[in-house]
Symmetry: C3
Subunit: 212 residues, 3 copies
């Protein structure tokens, strides 16, 4: 493997690890707020970090699951729980929450790209590929909120989140339709979803309420 390719892979793996950690931390914070016990906090962290990819693999009938192939991710989230338990104090929660918005946006893009790409490779039709991209990106957060007995924030808080993943997935399909190489389509997908989410945070964009 040439050095450039190798460094690209290292960068991608580090981004993925960062995004997974951001998802897990959002689970830890939500579970703490609900006063779960230590086991509950760990379970919610795992569900948030791995829920989206697991549903993708389940729906696309891909085995072994990605967290069976990449066990270091499981171990990493476990470690993160221990570290958060040891060092995270009440006064850190608000800071952590603001800080993880950015790696979370990166995760939104990366996971969406992985979902839409995998579905496309398996020959799924466009509409299904889009759904897989969005599901991979947002289902972890949906599961977190369902377990914590909340209506999923993604569906309710009028901040653009799932819709950024949707835009990214559309970009992927548009590029593959004109025979762009897969890596370009994936970069465009992840880039667009992440940038839109970042803009939505910075500009405080808001989705219209459904006002019937």
């Amino acid at each position: 493997m040439d050095p450039l390719h190798w460094w690209g892979n290292v960068a991608l793996t580090m981004l993925e690890a960062l995004a997974t950690a951001a998802f897990a931390l959002s689970g830890i914070i939500e579970a703490t707020r609900k006063r779960l016990d230590v086991v509950g906090v760990g379970v919610v962290a795992f569900l948030t970090a791995f829920g989206g990819g697991t549903l993708r693999d389940l729906l696309l009938d891909q085995r072994p699951f990605f967290w069976v192939r990449e066990q270091y991710a499981l171990a990493g989230v476990f470690l993160l729980c221990l570290i958060a338990q040891a060092f995270m104090r009440q006064r850190h929660v608000a800071i952590t929450e603001r800080m993880i918005e950015w790696p979370d946006a990166i995760g939104l893009g990366l996971f969406c790209a992985s979902g839409v790409h995998q579905a496309h490779l398996l020959g799924m039709p466009p509409l299904v590929s889009i759904i897989m991209g969005v599901v991979t990106a947002v289902f972890g957060g949906v599961l977190r909120d369902m377990v914590c007995n909340e209506i999923p924030a993604t569906l309710r808080n009028h901040r653009p989140y799932a819709i950024c993943a949707l835009a990214g997935a559309l970009a992927y399909l548009a590029l593959t339709a004109v025979n762009a190489p897969a890596w370009l389509a994936m970069v465009a997908c992840a880039g667009l979803a992440t940038s839109l989410r970042a803009l939505a945070i910075l500009r405080n964009w808001s989705l219209p309420i459904w006002r019937p």
Copy 2:
């Protein structure tokens, strides 16, 4: 294909489309009531319309999912969301809710018949086939209520719903046990479930509360 058969297929497809639209609309109404944003309303509409059949395919290990084979259904629900967003106003909600009770009853019968028939074809034992019929018919609504942070109405509101599907599934199995042709068993199943549900609505039947 002879004309009669062809018209039969057209009628069935139209009934299915009607029933799917009724399920999706019940999702839209519930999500609107919970003040979800536009993305949330769309997600709940999809979950309600496709949740039951997806769980059936998942449990019976049938791939591709029915909504991968029949993508027009996905596109149709998407269109329905756009139309509902554009035209449905507050004063329409109560009317819509009463109007969709009937296509919803048709969906209960059709989806139950599809579930029990598919399980039976795969050689599942009777008890499992019954469960598959009921799951296909009611799980969409259960998922809708779980995401909207409610105890599923089917399990709580003391109106016969799942139990109508149960009766239909039993009719299917009784008929196949005496070697009736599959189409007859399916028609009897869908007909019985739908009629019982319709009677339950008209006569205001109520299930006994579990009073321990």
Copy 3:
């Protein structure tokens, strides 16, 4: 089969039936408390009894599901619902709840052992086997509480439950790592998880709250 082996199997089957009944009863009690109707109570009983094993089979891609192979369990839970409906009165609930704590602890151990053993047989890595053991043991209860619109008690009530299954799963892996026979590892797993849970009940152990 020699008599000893035969009696061992009979004892195991009886323990499993006892544990499944305990899980189903906990579902019945929770559903009654939430004032579900008779159909709802039955559904929650089934979800609690079979949810954990179903998720295990789904994640490990094992078909047919264990409740397809062992239909008497389905029929048994159905019977149990009828009996409970006929005979359980309000004054029995508290007694039943205290009585089922013990067969529930047995179920925790047995289901954990079945999950970790099945995953290990399929060549899953240690971390994944542990997760499968814990999921099999606790997911039924998690599902029960999610459907009843509660934060899962296992994750919230600061009583050791999932963590007992975790300890059992670790014991299984430690023993197989030193080439102990599978039956010994399974007995140790079930025994440790059940004893820890029993001690937690008797001594009123409590997990630390996550106090950030």
